[in-house]
């Protein structure tokens, strides 16, 4: 309703200094998250907090390789997040499949399915590398170039085409309905 351009720098600073991370360790890099959050590397100094509810979180860390099954969950969680949201991909696996370049069950290029802001190098990047990536994201938020969510909104059809090409049309209902026969009837044990 109201035009807030005047306060935009304040909002940018607030968004920079209080990034809440979705607690979804999608790949092997998830093991570097606890050292980051705890005493030695302590991300809370920068106001970052792990948050189980996607509705509240704005930084989505894709920690390592992504399988199609996880990608479905990542897309759903990504769409649950409110708007200024940022994605950071760890290691080379989201880029080109990394060590699993020839695996049939690893996504080769994550950017085709969801927009990625920052990618950090390292096969399971070290906590220092992750913090460097976070500083990079903070700078991008500061000068307003972290607009992956705008890209996703503008060319949603392109992303949707890629997703449907990988999973097939109407994959959400199919995935949801996959478990109903097993929840429905009581087979004898």
């Amino acid at each position: 309703m109201v035009d807030w351009r005047l306060f935009e720098p304040l909002f940018e600073f607030a968004r920079k200094r209080s990034l809440w991370i979705v607690s979804f360790c999608t790949g092997c890099g998830g093991i570097e998250m606890p050292p980051l959050m705890t005493s030695r590397y302590d991300l809370e100094r920068f106001g970052m907090m792990a948050n189980p509810a996607p509705r509240m979180a704005d930084l989505f860390l894709i920690t390592g390789y992504v399988t199609p099954k996880t990608l479905k969950r990542i897309i759903i969680t990504y769409e649950l997040q409110p708007d200024p949201k940022y994605v950071m991909a760890h290691g080379s696996c989201p880029l080109n499949g990394g060590v699993y370049w020839d695996s049939y069950n690893a996504i080769k290029h994550l950017d085709k399915y969801i927009p990625v802001d920052v990618v950090i190098a390292g096969c399971m990047p070290r906590p220092e590398a992750v913090m460097d990536g976070i500083n990079k994201i903070m700078e991008m938020i500061e000068n307003g170039t972290a607009d992956s969510w705008k890209r996703y909104k503008e060319n949603y059809e392109w992303y949707k085409k890629n997703q449907d090409e990988l999973f097939g049309e109407g994959w959400r209902e199919r995935e949801a309905r996959r478990w109903i026969p097993w929840l429905m009837d009581k087979k004898e044990e």
């Binding site: 479905k72 969950r73 949801a176």
Partner: protein, 620 residues
């Protein structure tokens, strides 16, 4: 002028009979509504006369019995409760009744209640008590025989104990009308104080008080005798239950007040006091306290809408009993105030339940859900009723509960104070369970085309909701009426404010500041970005996609942890106790029938011979 009281009492019965005879769909509703409206009009008109003269008196003599009727401030208030809630219930019944059978007996029970409130002697009191019980029994009988039997048995128990008590009183005092009984017992108390022997001995008083307590306890649904209420309230036409629980339970409460009026001083002399409260009053109060807790906790664990509100009305009546039991002037006024507010929001709730059952045809929680979008008016009424019953400041529920808390705690009763506080939280708990299971969440497909409330029910609910809000914001209105009972200014304060010395509550101020608070929150809300409506299936489920086939709301067994925490106490149930007694009596009768009255003549001859022999030995 003379037969004004007669009009108030008997119009419902007459219109009921006419409606039953005519049995034409549109016409009988009009007549019955008229039958409920006329006494209400007369009562409102009687308010002016009461300001000039203390009471309106009327008596008839039929076949040697002198029936007296008296309308003074206390009975006017209770009659008004019966009038308003009765009228709303009848309006509600206009859209939920299917045949004229119900009109006859509903209006008969309304006549019974009017009769009780206006009766001035024990005989007419007892007769109208029986009419009321019979009317409500027939209403329940039509829907469920077993529930009505249970209700009938306990009411008969109450009626007989009352008859016995009246008999003893008549034998001792010699008169039946309230005024003479009151004088004689008052003198008796004075004689006791001076040391000479009194008219009634100690265990006489104990017996009378016990019998009256059982009689009125059954009707009010006090703790040990409350088992009939859940079945009776739920197994009948739901808009009639608004009257059943809102008004008829007030008859039991009025009975407790009658004990105070007639036997009050005598009992106080006989049994003395604990702290500030009379000893006999403390019994009522303690039983009322247990009723609050038992009613509330059981209400939270119910799976059926009607049962939930049945237990909740038992628990609310418990508040009134605590108020009466404490016995100080302020606490009795608080109890009556809560009687009024309970009648209002409980009547409203049962009308809401009537709408839901009428529109969806379902009564279990697990079949319902997501009705808020489909029935907005009813949901608005439910929101008002919830705020009022749970005791949220701007509404009448809080004013009466606040008065009750202050009165009880001021009388230095820590245990009772704790019980009441626990009761107020239980109100929150089962109401939110009801709202969650019925109004929010995912809607089953068969409920997708439910329409909103029919017009008469909407009007009825509108009246009660309006009164809920008005008496909440301006509690002084009710306080002035209550002060008239005792004559002196117990609850001081203006129309918007209740001031009882050690505590002040201003309804208007709180509403203003609450509105400002919400406005401030609204400003912050609307400054934010635009809002996008999201369907139920677009929700957090651990990242998994979900469709409408999954069950996303916890409708059934919502309070399983509470049930497990209370598992030890839930094993004791007075319902099962009475069932066991019933079964035991049946077995006893069975054995008697087999062995003694077995129908062959020789056995009877032998019995005769033995009895004669005993008499002979005894040398009669």
């Amino acid at each position: 002028m003379i037969n004004e009281l007669m009009i108030i009492i008997f119009t419902p019965l007459i219109t009921g009979v006419i409606a039953w005879l005519l049995d034409i769909k549109g016409l009988r509703e009009g007549i019955s509504i008229l039958g409920a409206a006329v006494p209400l009009a007369y009562l409102i008109q009687a308010h002016q006369t009461l300001t000039s003269q203390p009471s309106i008196q009327y008596s008839i003599v039929i076949s040697g019995f002198k029936f007296e009727f008296l309308l003074y401030h206390l009975s006017w208030i209770f009659a008004m409760i019966a009038g308003v809630v009765g009228f709303a219930a009848v309006l509600g019944m206009a859209s939920t009744t299917k045949d004229s059978y119900e009109w006859l007996f509903a209006l008969m029970s309304l006549t019974g209640v009017y009769g009780i409130f206006l009766a001035d002697d024990l005989i007419s009191f007892f007769i109208f008590w029986e009419i009321m019980t019979f009317g409500s029994f027939m209403m329940v009988l039509k829907y469920n025989r077993k529930a009505s039997l249970k209700y009938f048995l306990l009411s008969v128990l109450g009626a007989y104990s009352m008859l016995l008590a009246i008999g003893i009183l008549y034998a001792k005092v010699g008169a039946l009308d309230f005024t003479t009984i009151q004088q004689t017992l008052y003198q008796d108390a004075m004689r006791g104080v001076l040391g000479t022997n009194t008219l009634l001995s100690r265990n006489d008083m104990l017996l009378i008080f016990g019998l009256f307590l059982i009689a009125f306890g059954v009707k009010a649904g006090m703790f040990p005798l409350h088992v009939w209420a859940p079945d009776a309230y739920s197994e009948t036409n739901q808009s009639y239950t608004a009257m059943f629980s809102g008004v008829l339970s007030k008859a039991g409460v009025y009975g407790m007040l009658v004990i105070y009026i007639l036997l009050g001083t005598r009992l106080m002399y006989q049994f003395g006091r604990i702290g500030a409260a009379p000893k006999f009053g403390y019994v009522i109060a303690f039983l009322g306290g247990i009723t609050i807790i038992v009613g509330g906790l059981l209400a939270a664990l119910q799976e059926d809408i009607r049962k939930l509100f049945a237990y909740s009305s038992i628990s609310q009546v418990g508040y009134i009993l605590v108020g009466i039991g404490v016995g100080s002037a302020l606490s009795i006024e608080a109890a009556i105030y809560h009687a009024i507010s309970h009648a209002l929001f409980k009547g409203l709730f049962f009308l809401i339940v009537a709408t839901i059952v009428l529109r969806t045809g379902k009564t279990e929680f697990k079949d319902m859900g997501g009705l808020a979008e489909k029935m907005p008016i009813t949901f608005a009424m439910t929101f008002v009723a919830i705020l009022s019953l749970a005791g949220i400041p701007p509404l009448v529920g809080f004013a009466s509960k606040w008065l009750l808390f202050e009165a009880v705690i001021h009388e230095n009763m820590p245990i009772l104070g704790g019980m009441i506080f626990f009761g107020s939280a239980i109100g929150f708990v089962y109401l939110i369970r009801f709202t969650y299971a019925v109004w929010f969440g995912q809607r089953p497909t068969d409920l997708d085309d439910t329409k909103d409330t029919p017009i008469p029910l909407a009007i009825a609910m509108g009246i009660l909701a309006l009164l809920n809000v008005v008496f909440g914001i301006a509690p002084g209105l009710v306080a002035t009426e209550l002060n008239k009972i005792f004559g002196k200014e117990i609850i001081k304060g203006t129309i918007w404010e209740l001031n009882i010395g050690f505590g002040r509550y201003n309804g208007l101020l709180i509403t203003i500041w609450l509105v400002t608070g919400i406005v401030i929150a609204g400003i912050i809300y609307f400054l934010g970005a635009k809002v996008r409506r999201v369907p139920v299936t677009d929700t957090y489920q651990g990242g998994n996609p979900v469709t409408m086939e999954y069950n996303l709301t916890i409708r059934r067994n919502f309070f399983l942890p509470l049930k497990e925490t209370l598992a030890f106490w839930l094993r004791i149930s007075f319902d099962r106790l009475y069932q066991d007694i019933g079964r035991w009596v049946e077995d006893l009768a069975e054995t008697l029938r087999n062995y003694i009255y077995n129908g062959n003549v020789q056995a009877y001859a032998w019995y005769l011979a033995i009895i004669l022999l005993i008499l002979a030995l005894w040398g009669v």
